[in-house]
Amino acid sequence: MIGRIGLAFGVFLIVSPAILFFLWMISLSVKHEIDNAAYPPVFIPENFAWKNYADVLASNRFFTYFKNSVVVTGGATLLAMLVGVPAGYGIARMAAHKSAIVILIARITPGLSYLIPLFLLFQWLGLLGTLWPQIIIHLVVTVPIVIWIMIGYFETTPIELEEAATIDGATRWQVFRHVALPVAKPGLAVAFILAVIFSWNNFVFGIVLAGRETRTLPVAVYNMISFDQLSWGPLAAAALIVTLPVLVLTMFAQRQIVAGLTAGAVKGG
């Protein structure tokens, strides 16, 4: 009995900071300014300010920024899958473990040190007004994640099936496409989900490379701070909208995320 109460208390202790934070975030986002400025603070307002959300969604630039985020994250993730999955397979089959050192270097390098040379390169190529610089630099985040996770998965998939297919006359590409890839489907999901999340969340590349028309959502939300210092409601609503896709993904793909994170990949940039 005492043990059970102790456990309940322990669970409450470790989970409450996360839960209370997000409840407070929701609370801030549905309150009018008068309630957000009240002391003692109001947790559940009498009048909900749904207008905060309507304002954010109705602002004419929001959908531009949303579209930018989708294009950058989508582009960087798909490109990373396209080059990273075969690479993970090749590295696993060649047992080229030393090549993983490049991934390790990418993992420990601060994102800013990529930015200086690539910024100059993009400027020189005249790409700065477009979304291309951001798609390309997000590859720094997504490619190592995908390669790292896929090496792990292809190393554990049984090689016997592939050998049998080779004896039957399949080319290496056919073996990869029709034997190895279907078996590694769970790994593909893990790599895809983590690449999407860490690209979506990325902020540092955007503040340097994005112009007014090419901002992604995290950068757009950051820029709201300076203009709307005192309107907490819309600001919190915008913050929630930006992070909501990630939170929903975390809820539904918890198993894949945990598998991927404990595999040692974990965020870049």
């Binding site: 990529y114 950051y222 913050a239 990630v246 945990v258 404990t262 974990v266």
Partner: protein, 310 residues
């Protein structure tokens, strides 16, 4: 492990096919596209940064070779020296606190209880959420007059704080956010370690009448040591590079009280556009991260020698 098998495979090849001309390994087409990407977005920036660090280069003016001058500027730059200090204290706190709390959380989540799955999903949300979005909400919570944190302090009878608005409390306050955000990752790594533990020691300890604390202290803790080191290493690498949270909440302020190396690097590169100097900072910063990783690896080795993780 890998090197031994590589060498063995290499040796076997040398013996069986000595006269064959060299052919590219057949898996190369799979790796080639990724290699091109890695060369252009990871290797090229590195080489370019090394070259730039020996140049005097401000945007808009031509470059001149200055040798090690950019590196020699570093120890004489009070802002850089100060930033190193901030980075070290920020990192030390951001490793230790999540490590302690994350281990505690892992012990809890290892026990089966109703609702564990959903609570674990909620628990890991802080590290998955968009950092800028949560930084924004923390900024509101830190507000000295209207923030909810000072209200919570007043409930338990503590005086209000200035949090991130005072040079003396800004780093601990930012560490609070960092800890809140990254404790879940430590929990996941340690939980993986605990899940793999054998059950026999616990059974015999129970027979001997050991308390829960004794079992944790003398059985669990020594056995999960390797996982704690991995968690500490990942945490140190991430904390040293921390950018989003600090930039979004304080921009390194008040004054330069929370300016870490990474934030100073940002200013030098993209506020002052002093690209040669920024490149030198980036390289020294990278060397510091490598050194930090190496120190933790050495500590881990030493822990093994002295038998801490038997």
């Amino acid at each position: 492990m890998s090197t031994i098998t590589d060498q063995a495979a290499g040796a076997a090849q040398d013996i069986t096919v000595p006269a064959q001309p060299w052919r590219p390994p057949s898996y190369w087409p799979f790796v080639l596209p990724a290699l091109i990407v890695v060369l252009s977005v990871i290797i090229f920036p590195w080489l370019f940064t090394i070259w730039m660090s020996f140049q005097e280069w401000k945007v808009g003016s031509p470059t001149t070779f200055v040798g090690f001058a950019n590196y020699l500027r570093l120890p004489a730059d009070p802002r850089f020296v100060e930033a190193v200090g901030h980075t070290l204290s920020y990192t030390a706190l951001s490793v230790v606190l999540p490590l302690v709390l994350g281990t505690f959380a892992a012990v809890i989540f290892h026990i089966k209880f109703p609702g564990r799955g959903i609570l674990r999903a909620l628990f890991i949300m802080p590290m998955m959420a968009t950092p800028v979005a949560i930084a924004l909400v923390w900024t509101m919570m830190f507000h000295p007059q209207l923030g909810v944190l000072n209200y919570l302090l007043s409930l338990v009878g503590l005086p209000p704080q200035l949090w991130v608005f005072h040079p003396g409390t800004v780093i601990p306050s930012l560490v609070l956010v960092e800890t809140w955000q990254w404790t879940p990752l430590v929990m996941l790594i340690v939980l993986g370690g605990i899940a793999a533990l054998p059950t026999e020691p616990y059974e015999s300890a129970q027979i001997d009448g050991a308390t829960a604390w004794q079992m944790f202290r003398y059985i669990t803790l020594p056995l999960i040591m390797p996982f704690l080191f991995i968690a500490a290493m990942i945490r140190a690498i991430d904390a040293v590079k921390s950018f989003d949270i600090i930039f979004a909440i304080t921009q390194g302020g008040p004054g330069t009280a929370s300016e870490t190396i990474n934030l100073y690097l940002y200013s030098v590169a993209f506020v002052y556009y002093d690209l040669g100097y920024a490149s030198a900072i980036a390289l020294v910063f990278f060397a510091l991260i490598v050194a930090l990783t190496a120190v933790l690896l050495i500590l881990r080795k030493r822990a093994q020698w002295t038998g801490i993780d038997a």
